[in-house]
Symmetry: C3
Subunit: 125 residues, 3 copies
């Protein structure tokens, strides 16, 4: 099960651009079966990620994974999150995230279990 | 050869929580065949990682890799480290690492050669 | 199409080592089909990466990817960049990047399209 949602980055996420001109913006998933990653906001591509991750780290048969003997069935979700990454670090200049022309931040959810949270931390001058 | 060890994060790793309330904690492997990563501390899952990495980047036959013509036999370890990542960035709030409920920091060693080191850097306010 | 170039890190990249003794150096690709990564500067290994990435995320047939219905043919480049990573965070101590003995920073280009840029951000004390 893969669910991807785009983060809306509001100005409050970025702090006060006038006071903090040079800093970084760290965004991280705080669950080991979820990811925060940066890529293009294009629906076809997000579908391609889903298919690709299922090839690299298949969900079934769930018995192939030792982790699933704990009663979980989400070992594949842990592996998928390793490919997609836990956190992103984005530079900020003059109050704006330094993105490429198509880059956006996404939250990827790989097992669909439990209520989860992501964290934003801003560090700078 | 895959060896995974959990880091014990002591309070001295985190600096003085009273003085530095908002900062980040960067932990990185400084060898290109090793990794610092964050996931669950569950033995079955760590075994699953080992099996999975061997599928994605097999050690043998060692002759399949150009890098091994240098006299090394650890090209696969470089690829495994790319999947698992070189460094983690963890936010810290009020002197505590902002982990999810099951997250821990691990050192992954993929060729078992040489004495290696990892580095911790704390940046903040 | 994979092209890898080594970054030359000059002292100006690192700022003034005397004034900033403890900081981090973030280097990031700002295009979703490119990567900044750290590994060994060994030609055979860079070739091994190219072969390996083509196995994990093949370019052809281009019709296998939904993203390519947009008129692009670079869906595989987005997946390759996910494996290789978008950004690196390198600690700096006394004006020097904290590298392992063989580590270097590379720019990886996976579709060969458009003029691209990478970004360096230095944060510290």
């Amino acid at each position: 099960m893969v669910l991807v949602e785009q983060f809306a980055c509001t100005s409050s996420d970025l702090g006060d651009g006038n006071e903090r001109q040079q800093y970084t913006h760290d965004k991280m998933a705080t669950h080991a079966t979820a990811s925060v990653f940066i890529n293009d906001d294009e629906g076809g591509l997000l579908h391609d990620y889903e298919v690709w991750l299922e090839q690299l780290a298949p969900h079934a048969p769930t018995t192939r994974y030792e982790h699933n003997k704990t009663g979980e069935d989400n070992a594949d979700a842990h592996l998928k999150r390793q490919i997609m990454g836990r956190e992103v670090v984005v530079a900020i200049t003059a109050g704006k995230l330094d993105f490429g022309p198509w880059e956006q931040i996404f939250y990827g959810e790989f097992d669909g279990q439990r209520r989860k949270r992501a964290l934003v931390k801003i560090i700078g001058e």
